[in-house]
């Protein structure tokens, strides 16, 4: 479990603010087409589980945080941690036809989680 129990919304909001343009552009340009799915080896090696789809991972981590303006529950943040730490290894192989930089968006999701004391649990 993470070290903090309370969510510091201000910290999250400052990360979102710093990277607003990048997040906004990525979210606005994603056509929600799912073509990036097969480019992720974790998607393929987990029986094409859609939760491993690169776009699913950034939309439901940094995307969700952006839409909710950083106001998320601890539980929601823990779910995001699973997405960005356990379901992605940041190998940067994802391929989007538009060239959306998915790994750096997932990295932002990690930044937010880390700022709230949530990171990868190697002993799970």
């Amino acid at each position: 479990m993470g070290t903090t129990t309370e969510i510091n919304t201000d910290t999250i909001q400052s990360i979102l603010k710093q990277n607003r343009k990048q997040i906004k552009l990525g979210l606005a340009m994603c056509a929600h087409c799912s073509l990036c799915a097969e480019s992720c080896f974790l998607f393929v090696s987990n029986d094409n589980d859609p939760e491993y789809m690169p776009s699913y991972k950034f939309i439901n981590s940094i995307g969700k945080l952006y839409r909710k303006k950083g106001k998320v529950s601890k539980q929601a943040l823990e779910e995001m941690r699973d997405l960005v730490f356990e379901k992605c290894v940041l190998c940067t192989r994802c391929y989007c036809p538009f060239g959306i930089d998915i790994p750096s968006l997932i990295t932002l999701g990690r930044n937010v989680c880390r700022s709230q004391g949530l990171f990868r649990e190697y002993d799970r």
């Binding site: 990048q22 606005a28 994603c30 073509l35 990036c36 097969e38 480019s39 699913y56 391929y95 959306i100």
Partner: protein, 234 residues
């Protein structure tokens, strides 16, 4: 008697005149402004190499066949390899979506009567087929969004609306051309849908029409095309 909005001449004149201008101006200026805003998020960077230097990996004389198979192996890691059918459908959808309105006879007749200029036109049967391709492609995208779990999971209401906005001008144009349902109503809907789509392009995910070329051809990345020199500077 029949004073519905579809036969109101003031309304008809408006959507066939000023509204056409307005939508083209919003479309054109919108594209320019949005493209400048996008380019402002990038800057020129000194060349970065992603492929190993030829000096480090000596290129032995590859036969034409080897070159071909290598290129083929490269294509397999793109979306073409994983989703060849969808990419093909998408390509046909997009080509037809862009060229049909430009070369359809009806539009060129309008241009001719208004300005005395016109482009070459496709024979009507050809335009009819291209229109059917757009409608069929849109239908396929719609089904995918509805029934494929992985697409549905990331879909929003907006995706459905915009898909409809993209296909609606073609659907209404098709119905009007074939005089299915009421021609007068269809042609009004056709004009309105076309204008709506034009105005939405710069301000919706349709802006990918510019974003695609900037991000793939002008920004250095592993998957970039051509020889780009810029990088993101958000």
């Amino acid at each position: 008697m029949n004073m519905t909005i579809f036969s109101n001449t003031v309304f008809l004149d408006f959507i066939k005149g000023p509204m056409v201008w307005l939508s083209f101006i919003i479309f054109g200026l919108g594209l320019i402004v949005q493209t400048i805003r996008l380019l402002k998020l990038t800057r020129i960077k000194e060349a970065r190499r992603f492929a190993p230097d030829a000096a480090i990996v000596p290129q032995t004389d590859l036969s034409k066949w080897e070159r071909f198979t290598r290129y083929f192996a490269f294509l397999r890691i793109t979306v073409l390899g994983a989703n060849a059918c969808l990419v093909l459908v998408s390509f046909i959808f997009h080509v037809c979506l862009v060229i049909t309105p430009i070369f359809v006879l009806g539009h060129n007749v309008l241009l001719d009567t208004s300005f005395g200029i016109s482009l070459v036109s496709f024979p009507e049967q050809i335009s009819d087929i291209l229109t059917k391709f757009v409608i069929a492609g849109g239908l396929l995208f719609f089904m995918r969004r509805l029934f494929l779990r992985r697409v549905r999971m990331i879909s929003t209401v907006n995706d459905f609306i915009l898909l409809f906005v993209a296909v609606a001008p073609f659907l209404t144009g098709f119905l009007a051309y074939h005089h299915i349902f009421n021609y007068n109503i269809m042609i009004v809907l056709h004009i309105l849908c076309g204008e709506l789509m034009l105005m939405l392009i710069p301000f919706s995910k349709f802006f990918h029409m510019v974003f695609f070329f900037i991000s793939r051809f002008m920004i250095v990345s592993e998957h970039s095309l051509g020889s780009p020199k810029r990088s993101w500077q958000y």
